[in-house]
Every structure is written in C-alpha cells, then in structure tokens.
C-alpha cells in the first residue's frame, strides 16, 4: 500500500509486565481508511497493542504515532484531543455500571459536546439500531443486559461521536452468528461510508477475512506476518497456517 497516508504507526515497541516480555520490538503501520485485523492466540498481547494505540499504556521502549503525533511525548491535553477522534471498543465492554445504557452511549455527547438531551436521545437510538439493539434498553443498567448486549452497547458508545479511528477489541466474541454478521457489516459500512480507519482484534477468522484489508499475526511478542486476507489464507508460514486453520498440529504448542 505505497503512497498512502499512515494514520497509526508503532515503531519498535517493547512492553514488559513484570519480567514478562509481552511485546518485543513490534512495528506496525495502519493506513488511512483501511481496516487492519490483528490475530494471534490468547495472551499474545493483542489488547496490549490496542491500549498502546489508545494511549492507555506507555511502551517501555519505542514510539506510538497517531495522526502525526507521538503519544508518549504528548501532554494529556494533547492526547485527549487525539482521543476525541478515536473510538475504543473494549474486550469486555467496560460499560459504566452506575450509568444507564443511554448515559453510557451518550457519555461524550452530553459531557464533551454539551448536546441537549432530546437530541442525544435521537443519536443514541440511531447508534443502538446500527449495532442491532432496540431502543427499549435506554433506561436499563449494564447489569441488566446480557453479555452480547453489553458488547454492542460498548460498540455503540465507541461510535457515538463518529470517530475517525476505531479500535475494536474482539467485537464479535460472545455474540450469536447473526449478531456477529451484523457487526461485521457495521465495520465494513463505517469504513465505506465514513472512511473510518480501524484496527480490529479478533480470534474469529471468518470475521477477519470479511472485514480486513490486511491481517497481521502476532506470535511470541512479534509480528510474524502481515498480508491481505488472501495472502494470509494461502500463507506457507507454519505458524500462520496452523492458526488460521485452527489446527492442533503445528509448531505452536497447544498446552
């Protein structure tokens, strides 16, 4: 993808938790308007990568560039400005459980954008519809929702202010096949209609093939391969092959 504008760039990122090396000198680029899918086994550090891009974790070494700014060198106010262009879907939704569904989804509309409540209700209804939820949920608390519903409310919250960059941490895990497909369509639609740049972390290869422009696979703290869905599908790399075919036979230990 030469000649394209880079929106997100990780440069030689390393991260340790305690004495455990989770990310080992990782570099990664995401171009404007593309959807990059990150795959890899549980615990390899996929969520950790997203948290670096969102500025929630600082790398031990390396640089994180988002929209032309290096996050680790910025003051919080500047990082905040960047975050205003960014929506983050958390792996476990991370809804505020003291707030209702409406207050969760409308959080930034009300607090940041000072939108009148009546107007916010309309926006929230529209976003809930996009993620396949009915608007009779508005006054419920997260504890009253099912896991899959919570996930989708989290997604609605992330897209509430029409961000330019969306980070999805396993957006379809825990969803039924029909809802998953709706979410895949939503990711595609956001890209086509709004030109959103996305990073999607997923285990779901069907979803990965469907939404990705490029797929990057992480293993043992490193990116072991990137390519188009077709290239990944045909990859001769034994690790990638084992992962995408979901086989117990191969170089990766099953344990």
């Amino acid at each position: 993808m030469n000649g394209q504008k880079t929106i997100i760039k990780l440069l030689n990122i390393s991260k340790n938790f305690g004495n455990r090396k989770v990310l080992d000198n990782i570099s990664l680029e995401v171009f404007a308007g593309e959807t990059l899918v990150i795959i890899g086994r549980s615990g390899v550090g996929k969520s950790t990568i997203l948290k670096h891009i969102a500025g929630l974790l600082a790398p031990d070494a390396g640089e994180v560039w988002v929209d032309g700014q290096e996050l680790t060198r910025q003051k919080e106010a500047e990082v905040n400005e960047l975050r205003k262009k960014m929506g983050v879907v958390f792996q476990y939704a991370a809804l505020f459980d003291s707030l209702t569904v409406f207050e969760n989804v409308a959080f930034r509309l009300l607090r940041d954008f000072r939108m009148p409540v009546a107007e916010a209700v309309e926006v929230v209804k529209k976003k809930l519809e996009l993620v396949g939820l009915k608007d009779n949920l508005l006054d419920l608390k997260p504890a009253q929702l099912s896991g899959g519903m919570r996930k989708r409310v989290g997604l609605a919250r992330a897209i509430a202010v029409d961000p330019e960059i969306i980070l999805y941490d396993e957006p379809t895990s825990g969803l039924d096949p029909v809802s998953s497909e709706a979410i895949n369509d939503l990711i595609l639609e956001m890209q086509k209609k709004l030109g959103v740049t996305s990073v999607v972390v997923t285990h779901d290869m069907h979803s990965a093939y469907k939404v990705a422009n490029r797929i990057a696979m992480i293993y043992d703290g490193k990116i072991i391969g990137t390519g188009t869905p077709e290239e990944i599908k045909q990859s001769q790399d034994p690790y990638i092959h084992q992962f995408v075919t979901g086989s117990v036979e191969g170089p990766m230990p099953v344990r």
Binding site: A54, M86, V88, A94, F96, D112
Partner: protein
C-alpha cells in the same frame, strides 16, 4: 518475632510509598477541580451518598457517645471529686466539639463511605471502566476523584456539627435522668463553650474529609488483581484512613492550640 518486625517494616514501607502517591493525587485533584466541565450533578450525587445517607449512622454514633460521656463524667465527677456534677454539660460539650464529634464521625464515615468509594473505583479500575473514561476524553481524577473530594470535605464538617448537637443532646438526656437538672447542664454548656471550640471541630472535619477522600480514591485507582484486589483496596482505605485521622488529629490539635483556637 523477627517475622512480625519484618511484616511491620513492609507495611510501613508500603504506607510511606502510598503517602507519596496520595500527595500526587492531591495535586491532581486540585489541578482538575477548576477545569471545565463542572460536574455539578456528580458532585451533588456524591454529597447525597456521602453526607445525607450517612446521617443515621452519624446520629447513632453521636447520641450514644454523648450518653456515655455524660454517664462516665457524671459518675467520675460525683464519686471522685464530690459535688461538681454541675460541670457535666461543659465536659460533654467540649469533648464532643473538639474531639469526639469530628474524630468519631470521621471514623464512621471512613468505614461507611471511604470503603465504598475505594470499592467502587477499584471495581471500575479492574473492569477497565477507568480506561474507558480516558478514551471518552474524561480524566478519571476529574470525573471520579474531584466530586468525591468535594463531597467529603464539604459534608464531613456538616456531619460533625450535626453529631455535636446530637451528642450534646444525648448528654443532656442522661444528665437530667441521673445527675443534675437540664438547666444546670445547659448553663454549664453556655458558660464554657466558645466559638473556637466549634471552629476547631469544623476545621478538623474539613481535614478528615479530605484525608478520607484522598485515601479512598488512591486505593481505588491503585487496585489490581480483580476481586481480591478490590477487597484489599477496601480494607486499606479504611485502615489507612483511621491511621491518618488519628495521626493528623494530634497535629491539628497542636496547631489549633498554638493558634489559640
């Protein structure tokens, strides 16, 4: 024995490290307090939770404390120094206003609300709700700590004044039943209590409120390790609050006396 000393040393090191972090949090709270947006609704919510809903426990504590004070001081004054039971009103009022009102109220509130705040923020921390706040461009110190800090520092002095009154009434009740008439109790109060006694208690209330808020928020934000961590944060919030309330009470007394309040 050496094991015990070691453990105490570890606790002390942890406590001192935490104190440093609390200083940072205090600076952060003061920096964010005056920035926009002004979260009026959140502040009000916390004032209700921390202040209004704590009235029953504060009343209960104060009333019985006042009764015990009257009983104990009345008994001591009558049997040990015969015939001075007309001073019960003074003893109860001054003790309540200067010491027991602020200190006991602070302890009850630390137990009831300091623990609750640590558990709430701790849970938000381990379930990534605090991270979510960052991504929604809401600084957690501003959104969570500032309203709680304001609510604690504003409501604790009010609760203290309330507790003083209730404790005084408890003393009046016991005194009039067992020792002297209520007129003597009231007269003794009037002749001994000065504005400084009331002020001193209120100033303590403000400090204790700030201590509970900062300790509880700090423990909440520092939570790791899931449910177990939330449990530890809650315990630490109460234990550290108690320790700091008692330690600072001594120094506040010294300062108040030096300032002739």
């Amino acid at each position: 024995m050496t094991n015990l000393i070691q453990r105490f040393g570890k606790f002390l090191a942890f406590f001192i490290h935490d104190m440093g972090e609390m200083v940072f949090l205090t600076i952060g709270i003061n920096r964010w307090m005056f920035k926009k947006p002004f979260d009026g609704k959140l502040i009000l919510e916390q004032m209700v939770k921390i202040g209004v809903e704590s009235i029953p426990v504060a009343v209960n504590t104060a009333f019985f404390t006042g009764m015990v004070l009257a009983l104990q001081s009345g008994y001591t004054l009558e049997t040990k120094i015969k015939g001075v039971s007309q001073f019960i009103g003074a003893v109860v009022s001054i003790s309540m206003l200067r010491e027991l009102g602020p200190v006991l109220t602070a302890m009850v509130i630390a137990g009831r609300m300091g623990s609750a705040v640590a558990a709430e923020i701790g849970t938000m921390q381990v379930t990534e709700q605090v991270d979510a706040l960052y991504t929604l461009a809401a600084n957690p110190v501003k959104y969570l700590a500032v309203p709680r800090f304001l609510a604690f520092t504003f409501m604790l002095p009010l609760l203290t004044i309330f507790a003083d009154l209730i404790g005084w009434a408890g003393g009046l009740f016991i005194c009039s039943m067992k020792f002297t008439s209520s007129t003597i109790y009231i007269e003794s109060t009037r002749s001994s209590v000065e504005a400084g006694d009331i002020m001193g208690g209120v100033i303590k209330g403000v400090f204790f409120g700030a201590i509970i808020a900062i300790v509880a928020c700090r423990q909440g934000f520092a939570t790791t390790n899931g449910a177990e961590g939330v449990g530890r944060a809650t315990t630490n919030a109460v234990v550290f609050s108690f320790m700091l309330i008692l330690i600072s009470d001594y120094f506040l007394n010294a300062v108040l006396i030096a300032l002739h309040i």
